[in-house]
Symmetry: C2
Subunit: 242 residues, 2 copies
């Protein structure tokens, strides 16, 4: 798509959230560092947070491989992974309330500095919604906490699948009452956009090169023929005529 001609067909933008809208890594590291001091608990919080995110894709794969176990929402997967990791990182003295507090850390993530202003601009012209593997409660609580001005919360949970399963992208378009090409998936992850593009959705890439800190290995730049490539959400708004 030639962005100079605008994107007349697009009615709704749906956003990946972890990494694209919010900085999960620094948010969680800062949160746990400050909180653990008040609780008198020692831990390698950076290591734990990186390992926790490392467990994310494998934990969703388990859900995909075992449909007979039923769908597990991301809050549940986060909690299951955390229980293993606190043992692995030899973090002791955690109560049930502590484990709950840490799991709900994913509800308290901070947006990138351009997220709220860019979304606010985009909302004037488009429906803006989440399309995240986070469950609805997580995404709603995050939005309330971070001031993210979504029109609606769409989640993989609604379809009992996880991205990049096709059910999530096509389900979002169906609920919006739109054709896939009227919906643009916005993400900082090329693989998310590839899955969306293969199903007919439009695509917008926004680089978040510090998402994984020193562990970042990919997604420094657009690796596909995406409809729009922007430096941040305000640049995306400008490119989409907002």
């Amino acid at each position: 798509m030639n962005t100079s001609s605008g994107v007349p067909a697009v009615k709704a933008l749906v956003f990946d959230v972890f990494g694209t809208v919010v900085d999960w890594r620094i948010s969680l590291i800062d949160d746990f560092t400050a909180w653990s001091k008040t609780r008198g608990i020692q831990g390698d919080w950076t290591g734990l947070v990186d390992a926790w995110r490392g467990a994310y894709v494998p934990s969703m794969d388990e859900v995909r491989k075992h449909p007979e176990r039923g769908y597990l929402a991301l809050d549940t997967l986060h909690r299951q992974s955390l229980e293993k990791l606190v043992t692995q990182f030899a973090i002791s003295g955690l109560t049930e309330d502590d484990l709950s507090y840490m799991t709900l850390g994913w509800h308290r993530l901070h947006p990138w500095s351009d997220s709220v202003s860019g979304l606010t601009r985009l909302k004037t012209k488009f429906t803006i919604g989440t399309l995240s593997n986070g469950n609805v409660a997580l995404l709603n609580n995050m939005a309330k906490h971070a001031g993210l001005p979504w029109d609606l919360i769409l989640s993989a949970e609604l379809f009992e699948h996880y991205k990049p399963d096709r059910e999530v992208y096509l389900g979002a378009a169906r609920l919006l009452g739109l054709q896939p090409e009227q919906v643009m998936m916005v993400a900082a992850h090329n693989n998310d956009l590839k899955a969306a593009q293969d199903l007919g959705l439009k695509t917008g890439f926004v680089a978040r090169p510090t998402e994984y800190g020193p562990l970042q290995k990919r997604d420094f730049k657009a690796d596909g023929d995406w409809d729009v490539v922007a430096t941040d959400f305000n640049d995306l708004a400008a490119r989409l005529g907002c």
Copy 2:
């Protein structure tokens, strides 16, 4: 519940929409009256709108009685009912575009005068969402059109049921990550609140005595032991400490 003690447990308010938040009757009558003049089409628009709403509950009952046919979203039911009614009301000259325009009239409804200001106040303290038999696209389009500041769109469509089926109320609490008693159903209809209360949700009644115009036969006042009874959404906000 003694409202003077506040409602500390409630985290989210979910709202019936047709009649409670928006004035479907006058909105549609005015819309079709103005539009039909530009199209040169004659019709008893008041009669048609009242009959259309009259077909609402029976059309959902058909979905409930025939699960083997699959779930039909409200946009589809509205269209099916409309096709019968234009014949019954002898309205001729309607094109496919006209039928689509009329069906989407339900996406263009106007809020009661207190709805936006009251919701804006309530949003500062609570999660506010729809919990309507309208499908997600309808509710999202209406929100964009009318400026309704929802945190999220919850719809009977997500559960493939229609209110007052229990799956809708309990499904909303589940997606919000809340216990039923942490969710308040707000409606202008006593039967909606009765179903919610029976499942453990809190209840808020707001009278909309002109919803059905001269055809209004019930819901002039609270007929149950609801947790909060308010005259409008600003009164509801005040009673809930916003």
